[in-house]
Amino acid sequence: MRIPTPIIEYALILPMLIVFGAAVLSVGFEAFISNKYRRQSQVLLTVSALALALIALIIVGNTNARSLAVEGTIAFDGPGVFMQFIILLSSILATLIMAERRVDPAGDAFAPRASAVAGSEDEVIVTKMGLVQTEVWPLLLFSVSGMLLFVSANDFLVLFVGLEVMSLPLYLLAAMARRRRLLSQEAALKYFLLGAFASAILLFGIALTYAYTGELNFGAVSAGISANNNAAGLLTVAVGLVAVGLLFKVGAVPFHQWVPDVYTGSATVVTAFMASAVKVAAIGGLLRAFFVAYGGYAWDWRPLFWAVAILTMLVGSIVALSQIDVKRMLAYSSIANGGFILIGFASTSRAGTAAILFYLLTYSLATIGAFALVTLVRDPSGEANNITRWKGLGKKSPLMAGLFGFYLLSFAGIPLTSGFVAKFTIFVAAVAGGALPLVLVGVVASVIAAFFYIRIIILMFFSDPDPDGPVVVVPSKITAGAIAFTSVASAVLGVFPQWVIDYVSSVSVFLR
């Protein structure tokens, strides 16, 4: 028997190959470069590989026609390229703030050794030995390459491989926070156990889909569903299990419980990465699986997405109200934002896709900016995450508090911010798709959410600061640059959104 050689369009997957190659190279750095130079080399490699991949993506995206690649398992289409773009951009920004060493007097945000509790004898010794945690960089690169694969997968096997390559490094990254070691390790273990559980459910759903259609390729699955009218119960279970597995990654209610724990336990810079790039990837996979593979079955799964979207928006917004930890509050805000994005699933139209793409871009930029600012408010023992400690921050550091207030207003969806435009476009698409009740719930949830965002603004600007309150650290130019970029980009997306809206509308067609 002859097995034909697969045709691989290397040009179209060049960005993925660059990141993946850099990840492998980075493992080599870990083994062969001496302690002294390792950190610098790893950071340099990571940033330049991601930047190179971004440039390659822009060139490849502009010069090649949209098509399926690698025997139809990878979709090189408008939404895929745009989501890869968001992932690479937010990964670069996340890398920049991860490389920060100025804000924590002890060094970067990662524990030099698993056993070294912050402030302990161990840490002092390890620091004296000059040990630093550099394994975060190859892990980050592997995770990013998994995400790039995940959002452009056109085949359930590739989707699953992408998911695992993306997730496994994340479990480790979550465990590496320098401060609050136990919380960090607990978060990682929870994330791993629940993630494995969800992966198993997803895999089972994929297997049942295969059982029903005999296909794994999205296009073929879609054709198989419309051709086959028997044993629909099997398909129902298959779709349900795949939905659960992917909604878990999105952090949709009721599969959201890991989100606050993991976001709070991880180092804040890692949380920024998870809340932006990982969220984008998760939505991307969900979007492709349900718009392409199960697109013909939309009448049956749409009520499910309605219910999940309503639950996610309401639970996310309501529970955020009673949070007293800034990171936990932002985690619930992230959940609620996931719910708003799910409104876009109410209409499997181009407008819905375009609105989701725009939302993802604005949301990931604002999220990185907000979390980067959280790292700057510090007590002697680490970040001051308790909201009451932020009292009167506007008087201590008007710039920091002003920017944080700007992001909060954007999350709350105040007009002329990017958050408003994003919510507005998604609502418009949903109304056009006949999901008016969903939009009404969305508006109610926005009002509830606005309450806790504005509460923080009031706390920052209209209370007197504690004399022994936290200080706002001035970061290095790199972090400052990342914050400046996200702020300017968010402002531009709020004030001049039309050209980006036009652009995402032009790239919102999925290939199958």
Binding site: L194, T236, L304, V421, I501
Partner: protein
């Protein structure tokens, strides 16, 4: 007239607004670093706007009359489905006239302020506010829709508030600023209601859509919008019954009074009415309301001006009265629009001259504003006196000074509307001659009654030169604009124009007017042969009333403030009991829900996994329901 997309130099219309806005931004943000150069920066930017506006004006003149209007879309925020929020600028014959007036007079007053504010510590900030005002005023007259006009409208209100209260440590200034702000809110409320009504009726804010919609609109709609716009105009232009703030606004620095409270901002109401010509053309009742408001303000302002001893307040009364002239003219319809704008421009020059002259006099007498303590300044302040006299001759309407032409045309139009309106306007012209003569005698021509230690002297060049320039304008601009009917032909495509058709001949009307004016002058000379340096108490009822602004504040308090306070109190009770109660109830419910849901976050992996299982069952359930 059909507007065209902007081409060539007209695509830079936005720069007219951007230049002074940039100045305001730089000066107000980097005030400390720019302390030395701030005034010069402000002057440079405001004069650049003038130069650019002038070039545009010359370009416009080379084009045929019907093709002089341009729209440029400056900024589109979002265009999605039925919501299209975009902002455009409209440059046509009417707006360019305002652009030239605002930037020219504005620049002159910037220069004057160099000398006037020389010793003020915060003068950088002052120039920043002046630039802000110029930018907002230009936005107001360049907007191509009512919404953007409203932004400019609020912008000039803000700048006016900041400038009236510029000397914050002066209690009366702070109070006056607040009063101006509050009274203006009443007018602004009218404007916002008018805009909402237009949007409801025509689905758009733009002038062109409203004009088109008015073609077949019903009477009541035109009347409603017209009256709301009139309320807005009365607030901004200090017309009856919202006039009270203008007299108090004189607490601000004098250049501010000249620029904002005489030449430009207070005339925005006239602009609004003329710009909305299509609305007023459609409703005679609305036009009559405009005429009545204008006539009352015309007479009341003149009476107040004749009783005040404070030179600036007397001038403020005069401003109210002169704007009354313009509003009255605008209320006459197509026969009067052009002349309202003509009088607005000539008034911009001669009133600015007189305010700057008053400032110069105050500068010379240790900031005294009481005319009873002036006198004999004509020989000591020769430039101030000469320029003030030019302004005086212009305002009372002696040919060939500017006011003669504009006022004469308004009288002609008023007489052709009805004999009674004409007679009221004529009476106003006589009163004007009386109180202005009084001012000139008290200030310059009578024997000195100075306070101890006052040594009057002429002001520095930076102050006299702008006065001379503006005085030349006040002398010639009336003739220049009316020669061969250029101004009527210029504005006709925008506002429409009908030739006035007065029952008496133009020549006879001119003689009649000059006679009335001469009577006013002679009566004033006879009346003020001697002037007491203290205020006499035994005066007629009318004088007493006029000294108290004709009881404007008393009326405001009894008619508006007290009932307003009662309504507010009632609303507060309602708000606390009903609305807050409901709101807090809902908020408490959400809060309890939050606490309750938070309990599900136990921290145990086993419960989280159980939720996932439960969620999976829920998902299956939903999918099965969908299949049924």
């Amino acid at each position: 007239m059909i507007l065209q997309p902007a081409t060539g130099i007209f695509t830079f219309t936005w720069v007219l607004v951007a230049l002074p806005l940039l100045g305001a931004f730089l000066i107000l943000v980097f005030g400390k670093q720019l302390k030395k150069i701030a005034p010069y920066l402000a002057i440079a930017l405001s004069s650049s706007s003038f130069v650019l506006g002038f070039i545009m004006f010359l370009q416009m003149r080379t084009r045929p009359a019907g093709e002089r209007g341009f729209v440029s879309n400056v900024y589109q925020w979002i265009s999605s489905g039925s919501l299209d929020v975009s902002f455009g600028l409209q440059l046509d014959q009417l707006s360019i006239a305002f652009v030239l007036l605002i930037t020219f007079v504005g620049t002159m007053i910037h220069i004057y302020s160099l000398g006037y504010m020389e010793h003020d510590e915060n003068r950088g900030r002052f120039f920043g506010y002046l630039n802000l005002f110029v930018a907002a005023m230009l936005l107001l007259v360049l907007a191509d829709n009512y919404l953007l006009l409203y932004v400019g409208w609020e912008g000039v209100g803000l700048a006016s508030y900041l400038l009236i209260g510029f000397w914050q440590n002066k209690h009366s200034a702070a109070t006056a600023a607040k009063k101006a702000f509050v009274v203006n809110r009443v007018g602004d409320f009218g404007l916002s209601l008018a805009i909402m009504t237009m949007f409801l009726a025509f689905g758009s804010f733009s002038f062109s859509a409203v004009n088109a919609g008015m073609q077949n609109a019903q009477d009541w709609l035109a009347l409603t919008i017209g009256l709301l716009l009139l309320l807005a105009a009365a607030g901004k232009s200090a017309q009856f019954p919202l006039q009270s703030w203008l007299l108090d606004a004189m607490e601000g620095p004098t250049p501010v009074s000249a620029l904002i409270h005489a030449a430009t901002m207070v005339t925005a109401g006239v602009y609004l009415i003329v710009r909305s010509a299509s609305i007023f053309n459609a409703s005679e009742a609305a036009r009559n309301a405009v005429i009545i408001v204008g006539a009352i303000s015309l007479i009341a302002g003149a009476i107040i001006g004749a009783a005040k001893e404070d030179i600036k307040k007397s001038l403020a009364g005069s401003t109210m009265s002169q704007i009354g002239f313009m509003i009255l003219a605008a209320g006459l319809g197509p026969v009067g629009y052009v002349f309202a704008i003509l009088h607005l421009i000539t008034h911009g020059f001669f009133k600015a001259v007189m305010f700057l002259g008053a400032g110069s006099v105050m500068h010379a007498t240790n900031d005294n504003v009481n005319m009873r303590r002036y006198g004999g300044l004509s020989k000591l302040m020769i430039f101030t006196f000469t320029t003030f006299m030019v302004g005086y001759l212009a305002i009372i309407g002696i040919p060939p000074f500017a006011g003669f032409y504009s006022k004469e045309y308004i009288l002609e139009a008023a007489f052709s509307h009805s004999i009674w309106v004409g007679l009221i306007a004529l009476f106003g012209a006589g009163l004007t001659a009386f109180y202005m003569t009084r001012m000139v005698i008290w200030t310059f021509l009578s024997p000195p009654r100075w306070e101890d230690g006052v040594h009057p002297h002429e002001s520095p060049k930076s102050m006299t030169i702008p006065m001379i320039v503006l005085a030349i304008g006040a002398a010639v601009i009336g003739f220049a604009l009316t020669y061969n009917h250029v101004f009527e032909e210029w504005l006709e495509p925008v506002t429409g124009f009908e030739k006035p058709n007065a029952p008496i001949s133009v020549f006879a009307l001119t003689i009649l007017t000059l006679t009335v004016v001469a009577a006013g002058v002679i009566f004033a000379i006879y009346r003020y042969r001697t002037i007491s340096p203290t205020t006499p108490q035994e005066v007629s009822f009318l004088t007493q009333a006029a000294r108290k602004d004709l009881y404007g504040d008393v009326a405001n308090e009894t008619l508006l403030m007290r009932p307003g306070q009662k309504v507010t109190k009632g609303l507060v009770t309602f708000d606390e009991k009903a609305i807050d109660g409901t709101f807090l109830g809902v908020a408490n419910m959400v809060w309890s829900a939050s606490r309750l849901l938070r309990q599900t976050s136990t921290g145990y992996v086993r419960s989280y996994a159980a939720y996932i299982v439960g969620g999976t069952l829920l998902v299956m359930f939903l999918l099965l329901i969908a299949r049924l």
